[in-house]
């Protein structure tokens, strides 16, 4: 108690000064525009900086959920895009929602195993039969084509990567719509070979290569890569075209399985006509 009194006696004047200045400060900042603005902008800068740093740290813990919701959103959008191309209305005047049939569904999956350095590469996905994944369905990522579902189990699926000797889909050149077959040569994981483009077609370097629906695996128009170089050997019927893939196959994370609802119908039709 006596020390408090002693302190008050010694510093009383300063304390009173301090208290009065605080009161004045409150008045100044509250009732004067210019001072108030300057004060609050400085305060906001400090508090904003602190809160932002805190938020950055906390945000790290939400990353997984954020990615999952983004993948789901992407699947939904890809689905919309894929289905938008299908217009089955025979009568031009009728534009109802029935004329846009839901042909594709898109399932987002996460890649849990991948390889790029073997001659025949495969991926494993963490969704399976229970998520609606069936064999012989196309797999794409946000950047481009990834592969085809080979086998499924209840919870997992095995994918034949495009970097696989047996992988062969039909692809087209965006500029003039010419179709060819896309295969992998087995060496560079970022380059694939587009075959069967006849020599009378004009080819341009930098042209985009996209999917067609002919394989029944992917909707039309999914990007695969760009023409990096092409050559024509004497006596050959077709070009040798090197396509540089958009997707970096070494960094696959979230992919989307394209489920073509008509696929069974198409397969059945082809089998029947093949058997005749």
């Amino acid at each position: 108690m006596s020390t408090i009194i002693y302190l008050l006696q010694r510093f009383g004047a300063f304390l009173t000064f301090f208290v009065l200045q605080i009161i004045c400060f409150v008045f100044i900042v509250r009732y004067n525009d210019q001072q108030g603005k300057i004060f609050w902008s400085s305060v906001n800068r400090v508090s904003g900086g602190v809160l932002e740093n805190f938020d950055q740290t906390v945000r790290y813990f939400h990353l997984r959920d954020d990615m999952d919701s983004l993948a789901a959103e992407n699947a939904r959008l890809i689905e919309l895009l894929a289905n938008a191309e299908i217009d089955t209305s025979a009568v031009a005047q009728q534009i109802t929602s029935d004329s846009f049939r839901q042909v594709y569904t898109v399932i987002p999956c996460k890649v849990i195993s991948n390889s790029v350095n073997r001659k025949n590469n495969t991926l494993t996905l963490n969704c399976g039969e229970e998520d609606g994944v069936l064999p012989h369905r196309g797999v794409v990522s946000a950047q481009g084509v990834v592969g085809v579902i080979q086998k499924v189990s209840p919870h997992y699926a095995q994918v034949m990567s495009i970097l696989h000797r047996n992988f062969k889909i039909s692809a087209l050149l965006k500029k003039n719509g010419t179709t060819g077959s896309l295969v992998w040569m087995g060496e560079d994981p970022s380059i694939m070979r587009l075959e069967s483009i006849p020599r009378h077609e004009t080819i341009q370097k930098g042209d985009t290569v996209q999917t067609t629906i002919f394989s029944g695996l992917y909707p039309t128009g999914i990007d695969i890569g760009v023409i990096e170089s092409f050559g024509l050997e004497v006596g050959n019927y077709a070009y040798n075209i090197d396509v540089k893939l958009f997707e970096d196959m070494t960094r696959l994370d979230y992919v989307y399985v394209i489920n073509n609802l008509d696929k069974e119908e198409l397969d059945q039709l082809e089998n029947e006509s093949g058997n005749e």
Binding site: A13, T16, F17, L20, I23, F25, F27, I28, Y31
Partner: protein, 174 residues
């Protein structure tokens, strides 16, 4: 005691009236390079009797500052400067204490203490008051340091001149 109290009350009222009625309109502020405020009311704080306790000085300074603020429309700025001056006064008086100590019945006027002492006393306090005032008015130290110095000096010359004139004319004893 009574006459001292009476004198100080009269001084309070006169200086405040002078400040708000006359000097408020003298302020040159249109040209943004120079902002001159003529302040005369700190004279009240300067001339308070020696024996007023530091707390009372602070309180009175707060009051006169707030009163001027009310008429200037700047709540708190003059009050803050006045409180600072009051605080400074206690320290400065201790510094300038003559060898025999102060005669507590007197006030720090030029008649009682002589021109030399008075100049030192009023110069420090008045300059401090104006410096604090312009610092608060700009409220940013990083961009307007030169601004503060400039305003303080220009206002100081005029205000201090007025102060001296009043001292000569009225020649207050206490």
């Amino acid at each position: 005691m009574n006459s001292a109290l009476f004198k100080n009350i009269v001084r309070f009222i006169t200086l405040v009236l002078l400040q708000i009625l006359v000097l408020k309109h003298v302020a040159i502020g249109g040209n943004f390079w120079l902002s001159i405020q003529v302040l005369i009311y700190p004279l009240f704080i300067l001339l308070l009797p020696f024996r007023t306790s530091p707390y009372l000085v602070l309180l009175l300074a707060f009051l006169i500052g707030l009163t001027v603020d009310m008429f200037y429309g700047t709540p708190g700025i003059h009050a803050s400067a006045s409180v600072f001056t009051a605080f400074l006064r206690t320290i400065v008086l201790r510094f300038l204490e003559p060898n025999g100590g102060y005669n507590l019945n007197y006030s720090p006027t030029k008649v009682r203490m002589g021109w030399g002492w008075f100049f030192r006393y009023s110069l420090i306090l008045f300059f401090g008051h104006l410096l604090w005032y312009f610092s608060i008015e700009n409220f940013t130290f990083f961009y307007s340091f030169t601004e503060i110095i400039k305003d303080t000096f220009s206002s100081f010359l005029i205000s201090y001149g007025l102060l001296i004139i009043i001292q000569i004319v009225f020649n207050p004893l206490d």
